[in-house]
């Protein structure tokens, strides 16, 4: 009994190892992805946003605005075009992301306490740039607005200290929790690498049943009388072991070398990852049972695995997806995994919270494996 199981597991391990293409993809793909993503996000946040300022006023007040913008965190003034048209060209060419136009008579209007407008244009084609640019510009404009307000109050005869207090009586202090510096690397590097890992793991899982049946050697297995349950259970153990083995260096590099945040304990992280590996493998096995050949199984596996990261709500909130679509997203183990990973790396949500996720992933595994067995049985009957 044990001898048979060990032989099946050994054979499966050898088989996976000898498939050079699969081996290299599984071993190095996600790890290279991690290194690549870590490189891409090494600056950790978007800074030095190219900014162009058109000062049509050339007054001391407008120069103050320009100075404020020059000193603004994350903005880098790269050009001072003379006209709006020149500014437009710069933004079109991508030489500037933020364009600011200080109108004529700006200083005069401020002095006369008339309403005046500073036009701020932001290139919205790159969301990351646009969001950061908006935040950076807002910081400057808020300060300028407050300064103008204080001046107005002083001009109306209010004591300077009182005027300042009036503007500072309500202070909105922003604090970003869990990722205080809003570090992109913390948010995305691990998730992107894990996305590659889950895709390759799905691909490997899709070969579980159909890969075996696709070979002539399936005859030997059938003629040996070994139970399918024993065969696929042992094969699955090896697959899950390999899937887990591959994630370990990713976690090592992410949390130990690159020092990405890990709020939860290692044991909870690994337990959660294991539950996901089983659920993911069960989904792959289901596809493997449904399709008649390995190519179709892997094609469909990719159809599910590729968009699953986007669907998971990691980068775009699930709540912002259409109501009808949200339950579909929650059917996929990937959604639970990426949501859970976010909690584990940033928040340490505790056993009570994560046990709910573990239970769901476990139930998914039971459901998908059962459906896989049923599909395989129906398929076999259909060929009788």
């Amino acid at each position: 009994m044990i001898k048979q199981s060990l032989a099946i597991m050994k054979r499966e391990l050898f088989y996976m190892w000898r498939d050079k293409g699969m081996r290299n993809i599984m071993l190095f793909g996600p790890l290279l992805g991690l290194l690549l993503f870590a490189g891409v996000y090494s600056y950790q946040r978007v800074g030095d946003i190219p900014t162009a300022i058109v000062d049509l006023d050339h007054s001391s007040a407008s120069r103050q605005v320009v100075m404020g913008l020059e000193n603004a965190k994350d903005l880098k003034v790269v050009a001072y075009p003379e006209t709006y048209d020149e500014l437009e060209k710069l933004i079109h060419k991508g030489d500037a992301i933020v364009g600011i136009v200080i109108p004529e008579n700006y200083g005069k209007d401020v002095d006369l306490r008339r309403q005046t407008k500073i036009a701020v244009m932001i290139d919205g084609t790159n969301m990351a740039y646009a969001t950061n640019a908006t935040t950076a510009v807002l910081t400057v404009t808020r300060t300028l607005g407050a300064e103008a307000g204080i001046k107005t109050l002083i001009a109306q005869g209010i004591e300077p200290d009182q005027a300042k207090e009036a503007y500072q009586s309500i202070e909105f202090r922003e604090e970003a929790w869990f990722n205080p510096t809003l570090n992109y690397a913390y948010f995305l590097v691990l998730a992107f690498a894990l996305n590659m890992w889950q895709q390759f793991s799905t691909l490997a899982s899709c070969m579980n049943v159909v890969g075996e049946k696709g070979f002539g050697s399936w005859i030997q297995i059938k003629a040996s009388g070994i139970s399918r349950l024993k065969l696929f259970f042992n094969k699955s153990l090896v697959h899950i072991f390999v899937i887990m083995l591959i994630v370990l260096p990713i976690y090592f590099f992410a949390f130990v070398v690159f020092k990405l945040p890990l709020a939860s304990s290692w044991s909870m992280l690994l337990l959660f990852t294991f539950a996901f590996a089983v659920a993911l493998h069960s989904l792959g096995t289901l596809m493997s049972s449904i399709f008649s050949n390995a190519i179709n199984a892997s094609r469909f596996g990719m159809v599910v695995a590729l968009p699953s990261f986007v669907i998971s709500g990691f980068t775009w909130p699930l709540e912002a997806m259409p109501q009808w679509f949200q339950p579909i997203a929650w059917i996929l183990p990937q959604t639970w995994f990426f949501q859970g990973i976010n909690y584990l790396s940033f928040k340490n949500p505790g056993w009570e919270f994560i046990s709910h996720y573990l239970l769901i992933l476990g139930l998914m595994a039971v459901l998908f494996y059962s459906l896989a067995a049923l599909a395989a049985r129906l398929r076999e009957k259909a060929f009788r």
Partner: protein
């Protein structure tokens, strides 16, 4: 004496096509039963049913006293050599023997015995995809089929198109297997092989007619003359 194989009104259909229609025969212990037929007459279909590889449409098949629809127990005493290459392509010669022995719960000493008997010692580390001749492959395939010392051995076109050295070795081992009390079912398409058989089940037009080896040869000759004219 109980038959090793008892086939009763066996029918095999796939879609609308009928491959085997109402076959009934028995194979007794120690017999060398030949399944003869030209290409596409259903030899492999029958072999796969007997080995429990394929299901069948209707009828009853008992092997070693087991109704094969109800239990797979008989497979532990079964050896199968297929016409198509069915060994594990990702494994070496030794690994195939070792893995198939494990699948069949055969003792390890049998592996060594098979290596010696089928002269495979020099090839053990070779991946089976690079085995130089069909004969070498068939020697290994038969070694794998015999590794569990089966009571019933089913072989499909075992010596077709193979080199004379391997052919001699395989025939010698099959004779030894029968001499040791085994039962052999052998599918073949070259009528000259029939003189090795105790009886021959001739498949034609989805039916089987049973002959002795001599009458099978005589029938072939008769048909040959008929169609030559």
């Amino acid at each position: 004496m109980e038959p090793i194989i008892r086939v009763d009104h066996l029918v095999q259909k796939m879609g609308r096509k009928t491959f085997l229609n109402d076959l009934s025969f028995e194979v007794m212990p120690g017999e060398c039963f030949g399944v003869f037929g030209t290409r596409g007459t259903g030899k492999t279909t029958l072999v796969h049913i007997l080995a429990g590889v394929d299901r069948f449409t209707s009828g009853e098949v008992e092997i070693l006293g087991t109704n094969i629809r109800k239990s797979e127990k008989y497979k532990r005493d079964l050896g199968l050599l297929t016409q198509e290459r069915s060994l594990f392509l990702d494994m070496s010669v030794y690994e195939n023997l070792d893995f198939i022995a494990a699948l069949k719960n055969a003792p390890r000493k049998n592996i060594e015995e098979m290596i010696e008997r089928f002269e495979l010692r020099e090839l053990l580390k070779e991946p089976i995809t690079v085995l130089d001749t069909i004969g070498t492959y068939q020697r290994l395939a038969l070694a794998c089929a015999l590794v569990n010392q089966p009571k019933l051995l089913i072989v499909d076109e075992v010596i077709k198109d193979i080199d004379l050295y391997s052919r001699r070795l395989i025939i010698k081992e099959l004779k030894q297997y029968l001499a040791d009390g085994g039962t052999l079912v052998c599918a073949f398409s070259n009528i000259a092989m029939s003189h090795y058989m105790t009886r021959v089940g001739w498949l034609e037009n989805m039916k089987m007619i049973i002959y002795t080896s001599e009458t099978a040869l005589a029938e072939w000759k008769k048909q040959e003359e008929l169609y030559t004219e």
